[in-house]
């Protein structure tokens, strides 16, 4: 297992460097906006682009970037979106809002989703199962921003229970902040609940009809004991990686939900960086999410071995 993990880590670093280099060059290959000849600012912009080294060979630019990151952990300054500001500080400053909203969302969604899935599986082919499954399909089919608008209209405007926007400030764990996050959390949760419900139901339904479950019952276990001790454990081989995935998604943020509820997170940062050709922000966010994604896949793969010892990581047998 250790050898496997080390091997994967090595490959991960190689892939990370390749992706970083590719993105670094590709974003710079996008043409800078044409400078209107009649605009007197064009001259200064042209000089500034020259001073920024945009006209130097890409590999020369990448070399300096890599040197600054490796030796000083300096990701550079924003040139467009947040002029003159350290991009690392901007990124780190915006992460908490995204993380906390997503954290609340999955803490709410996963237990509910799994519980509904178990309930539906246990009540398979009853009206309860049909109701849950139908609702799940409906919820999965509708994008989360639709819920966001509906929730905002009903709970914030009509009923006035919650504020329209997430509260300003960095008191992330205060009660007013929590209340202000509820509409965004609810909007994000519906889809996650439905996803886990569907997965759990499907897996559990299959496991419940397995022969070993029959054996467990014939050996005298109650239905609840057999389900909890054997069926759930088996279906978690599929569910746990999904939970890991959700936790990793905490860092990603939802562009549209953050926009609707004014969550000052990282949701739109990468897209805005591409649109504004803010190279340093783009590269930082790309590197960050690439690293997180690669690490997550490693963790998920390794987790299989812990969840189900029958799965041997790195084994050639």
């Amino acid at each position: 297992m250790v050898k496997y993990a080390l091997q994967r880590t090595f490959y991960m670093i190689i892939v990370f460097l390749i992706i970083t280099l590719m993105c670094f060059i590709l974003i710079r290959m996008l043409p800078q906006p044409a400078l209107p000849p009649e605009d007197p600012h064009s001259q200064v912009i042209e000089l500034r682009r020259e001073a920024l080294g945009y006209n130097e060979p890409y590999l020369v630019q990448f070399g300096l970037f890599a040197k600054n990151v490796i030796t000083k952990f300096d990701w550079g300054l924003s040139e467009k979106l947040y002029f003159g500001q350290d991009v690392w500080e901007i990124f780190v400053g915006k992460l908490p809002a995204t993380m906390i909203v997503n954290l609340y969302s999955i803490l709410l969604s996963i237990p509910i989703g799994i519980a509904l899935g178990i309930f539906a599986a246990l009540k398979k082919n009853t009206w309860i199962d049909y109701a849950i499954s139908t609702l799940t399909m409906v919820v999965i089919s509708v994008p989360s921003f639709v819920y966001a608008f509906i929730i905002q209209y009903i709970f914030c405007y009509k009923l006035g229970w919650f504020p329209f926007l997430m509260k300003s400030g960095t008191d992330w764990f205060s009660w007013p902040m929590f209340v202000s996050m509820i509409p965004a959390v609810m909007s994000l949760s519906f889809g996650v609940i439905a996803g886990f419900t569907r997965t759990t139901r499907a897996e559990l339904t299959e496991v419940l009809t397995s022969e070993f479950m029959l054996l467990a019952r014939t050996k005298g276990l109650t239905k609840a004991q057999a389900t909890i001790r054997h069926a759930l454990k088996n279906c978690f081989v599929v569910i746990v990686p999904g939970i890991f995935g959700e936790f990793i998604g905490i860092l990603g943020g939802s562009l549209i939900i953050e926009r609707i509820f004014s969550v000052p997170g990282v949701g739109g940062l990468t897209l805005n960086a591409i649109t504004g050709l803010d190279y340093n922000i783009f590269i930082l966010s790309t590197c960050f999410y690439t690293a997180i994604g690669l690490a997550a896949s490693l963790v998920v793969d390794i987790s299989y071995g812990f969840i189900d010892p029958r799965i041997r990581m790195g084994s050639k047998k």
């Binding site: 080294g53 003159g84 004014s262 000052p264």
Partner: protein
């Protein structure tokens, strides 16, 4: 008693004249020219004390991220500056001319000293004598140098005094060459910039002129000993191989060659030519190098150029800026802590002097310097700053200061108790609503939130949580007649474009997948067809149908342009501008008994009779030219005249309505002619930002494209329309090649439309050995209006485009607040936050909203 009053009046007049002196500026007052021109200070005891909290709750879709006056780049970044800065002179409503008892609404405005202690004093003579470095012309006697005394109570929000040296230091920093500040050009370029600013800001750099614009023919140049061409007594000429050319829309030849390669250019010698380019992308212009260039631009017929057009690719060396240029030569200095002297390269006075001419981007020097940071780059280094990017790095010298800021989330302002403005003599005013006297800025705090979604803004507004809501298209039916509705006009005019690029249209028609039996692209090039289209569209109906906030557009300039800000005189109100419209729309003045206003009011853009006549004429012309056929003899064109609408994005409700309306109106106009039901504007695939390039290069035909200019400079906008590098039609219609004649002082003057536009904006133009300059301060205003109206008329009758709509916005104002004026004023809008008054304080407002069930009716 009468004698005493008369004597006092005479004495007052004498004193006021003496105060102005020979060198003083006369206060600028707009609107009704009668009445009182001076600010009448209000007795502080008359000022009504207003108790309570008044929080202006605002929403923006994008929050400012950098409000450093030296580096900000977007309108969003200007937002905080509206509250945290001040100026030497400012505009106020001329309420002093409207006595309390009348309660007349404000109409005009006046310029008053703000940070300045008094109006500027002309010191041209003394500066000319004492400061030769400013090169004030020997003949100049006034308008080139002005002294301004500062108030002695100016302070930053932390209480630190502001002195004249802060102004000078701020200008030095914005222009400092190594900082490469984005806003530097605002202070070194143009008529209103102080002298020598450009020399300092661009120290160490060279500048070149684009010969595609200058038009110096190679035959007019001479060669030096090295064989390099020169012009204008020895200035060197280069080939702009990888150097931005204005007439290529700011692109370089290299960019075009990279993009199109052998499809458009001869590539045999391209690499050799490119290899010769220096770091600026320039190659010395010699015969050998011209031969290389010729092999690139003339070898491939697809590019369609000959040696006669090589001059377009040349860059003319203009000047080098001395690397050691000293800021002491720049036209702003401080003879004392409370005095500034501004020096200009041309004569300035009045409104432009006190607004644009004396605009200095003030920064708190010690804080600013501490935040500068040099970043290493692949080319060396570049400077940046975090000044004015958060609360800690901000400094205010305006009525409010930033008290809280969260990136991309919210911003909060509170009153700046150290603002000198609380002592300005005009800070108290008479409210025409109730006739009482108030201090400006009743708003105690400003709370600004990022609210990106219009639906959220609307719900928040209706819940009493925002002060205003910008109406969306779907809201107009419901709220257009609300008493809280305010319409705000804007400058942009939207035009329907036509494609006249004959060679490109021919290429498109020659394509294998083009069906010439059913489709025609050429008819749109006919003037008769375009004229027919122009009078087939009811402008107001189109605006109401497609974009209800907007209104009909009838000319190149809308009704918001002010040609004389000192009197707030609108260009569209002039006889010249009205006649241009009457001529273009073929209105017979006799039908209106010579009443020009009535004639203009009658214009809707729709003239079915003329439309039918012109479509019939166009049909016959198209048949004669073989653009269309009528093989079945049904009297209808076999082909549908098709214009491809360049779509920047996916099909939206706006696009769908626009296309449906245009197709419906054009075909209605063509009813009864050979083009009945045979005109189609069809959408392209989405092309993003490339839509304008597609129109310029003739690959697509039309769009509802917008154009605008500075609302106080209608004359400057003529430069844009007539510049082939900027015009959509630059590839097939050039204002340099079309002459026009204007009778000036009894003499007919004829030159190209472009030359007239240049001369109108202060560039001397020589025609037949005579130099013409009709710039501001050089030519009489009436002459300038004559020229501008004629340029506008000429551009209209060229039918490269047809004006369709004028931009505007509509919004609702919260019941918590009211404007002291109802009518929109381009200079002061409806007064801004300094004049906004509250019907309820926060406590009362919360109770009122609750009493309405939490949802307000508008």
């Amino acid at each position: 008693m009468k004698r005493i009053i008369s004597l006092l009046l005479v004495l007052a007049m004498v004193l006021s004249l003496a105060a102005c002196g020979d060198n003083g500026v006369t206060p600028v007052v707009s609107g009704d020219q009668g009445g009182q021109n001076e600010v009448v200070p209000v007795n502080p005891e008359e000022v009504v004390e207003v108790e309570g909290d008044y929080i202006y709750k605002d929403a923006v879709s994008t929050l400012a991220t950098n409000w450093n006056p030296h580096t900000y780049q977007t309108a969003d970044d200007l937002y905080p500056q509206n509250y945290t800065t001040d100026s030497l002179y400012t505009l106020i409503f001329n309420d002093a001319r409207h006595p309390v008892e009348g309660k007349e609404p404000f109409e005009g405005y006046m310029i008053v000293p703000a940070m300045a202690a008094d109006y500027p004093v002309d010191v041209t003579e003394s500066v000319k004598a004492e400061h030769p470095e400013f090169n004030i012309p020997e003949s100049a006697t006034s308008g080139f140098a002005w002294s301004v005394k500062l108030r002695d109570d100016l302070k930053w929000d932390d209480g630190t005094p502001i002195t004249a040296n802060d102004f000078v230091g701020s200008l030095e920093r914005v222009l400092r060459p190594e900082l490469l500040n984005y806003r530097a050009a605002d202070y070194y370029e143009g008529t209103y910039a102080v002298v020598n600013g450009k020399n300092y800001a661009l120290a160490g750099h060279a500048s070149y002129l684009d010969n595609g614009i200058q038009g110096v023919q190679i035959e007019e140049m001479t060669k030096n000993e090295e064989g390099q061409y020169t012009y204008d007594d020895g200035k060197l000429v280069y080939i702009a191989v990888d150097y931005s050319l204005d007439w290529l829309g700011g692109d370089t030849l290299a960019a075009y060659v990279d993009a199109y390669g052998a499809d458009m250019f001869g590539m045999d010698n391209w690499d050799a030519l490119l290899a010769l380019a220096d770091q600026d992308g320039l190659v010395p212009c010699t015969d050998d190098n011209l031969a290389l260039l010729s092999s690139v631009t003339t070898a491939n017929p697809a590019w369609g150029e000959s040696d006669a057009e090589l001059f377009n690719y040349l860059a003319l060396y203009e000047s080098s800026y001395d690397a050691d240029y000293d800021f002491s030569n720049v036209g702003l200095y401080a003879p004392a802590d409370d005095e500034l002297v501004f020096v200009y390269s041309s004569s300035l006075e009045g409104f432009y002097l006190m607004t644009y001419g004396m605009n200095v981007p003030l920064v708190k020097i010690d804080l600013y310097d501490s935040l500068l940071k040099e970043e290493q780059t692949a080319s060396g280094s570049v400077w940046s700053s975090t000044y004015c990017t958060n609360v800690e790095t901000s400094c205010s010298y305006g009525p409010y200061k930033v008290s809280d800021y969260q990136l991309d989330k919210s911003m909060h302002f509170v009153k700046n108790e150290n603002w000198a403005g609380w002592n300005y003599e005009w800070i108290n005013y008479v409210d025409p609503e109730d006739g009482l006297t108030y201090q400006m800025y009743q708003t105690t705090e400003i709370d600004t939130q990022v609210v990106s979604e219009p639906s959220t803004q609307k719900q928040m507004f209706l819940s009493g949580q925002l002060m205003g809501y910008g109406l969306q298209a779907e809201d107009f039916d419901q709220y257009r007649n609300s008493e809280y509705y305010y319409a705000t006009p804007a400058e942009t005019i939207f035009f329907l474009l036509f494609n006249g690029y004959e060679t490109e249209i021919a290429k498109r028609e020659a394509a294998a997948d083009f069906d010439a039996t059913t489709t025609d692209l050429q008819t749109q090039m006919l003037e008769s067809f375009r004229r027919a289209c122009a009078v087939s569209i009811d402008r107001e109906l189109m605006a109401a149908t497609v974009s209800p906030a907007r209104k009909g557009g009838y000319a190149f300039l809308g009704d918001t342009y002010i040609y004389d800000p000192e009197t707030c005189a609108y260009y569209r109100d002039t006889d010249q501008a009205k006649m241009a419209l009457v001529d273009f729309y073929s209105i017979d003045l006799d039908d209106y008994n010579g009443d020009l206003d009535a004639a203009v009011d009658s214009i809707t853009g729709l003239d079915p009779v003329t439309a039918k006549e012109k479509f019939a004429e166009a049909y016959q012309e198209a048949l004669d030219l073989g653009y269309v056929t009528d093989n079945d003899g049904d009297g209808l064109s076999d082909q549908t005249v098709t214009m491809v609408y360049a779509m920047s994005g996916e099909m939206s409700e706006f696009y769908r309505k626009t296309l449906d309306f245009l197709n419906s109106q054009l075909n209605a106009g063509a009813a009864g002619t050979g083009f009945e039901g045979k005109i189609l504007i069809t959408p392209s695939a989405p092309v993003g930002n490339a839509w304008s390039d597609n129109l310029r290069n003739g690959q697509m035909d039309t769009q509802l494209a917008g154009w605008s200019g500075g609302s106080l400079d209608p004359f400057g906008t003529a430069l844009t329309w007539t510049d082939p590098a900027q015009a959509y039609w630059g590839n097939w219609w050039d204002a340099n090649n079309h002459d026009m004649t204007v009778n000036i002082d009894g003499t007919d003057v004829t030159m190209s439309i472009r030359d007239f536009a240049l001369a109108l904006n202060g560039t001397p133009v020589t025609v037949d050995g005579v130099e013409y300059n009709y710039g501001y301060g050089v030519a009489d205003t009436e002459v300038r209006l004559d020229i501008l109206a004629e340029i506008e008329r000429q551009m209209l009758v060229a039918y490269n485009c047809v004006p369709i709509m004028q931009d505007a916005g509509g919004s609702l104002l919260s019941q918590q607040i009211y404007h002291v004026v109802e009518d929109y004023n381009p200079m002061l809008s409806r007064g801004g936050i300094q004049y906004d008054k509250y019907n309820y304080n926060e406590e009362e407002w919360a109770a009122y909203v609750a009493s309405q069930g939490g949802s307000l009716q508008y």
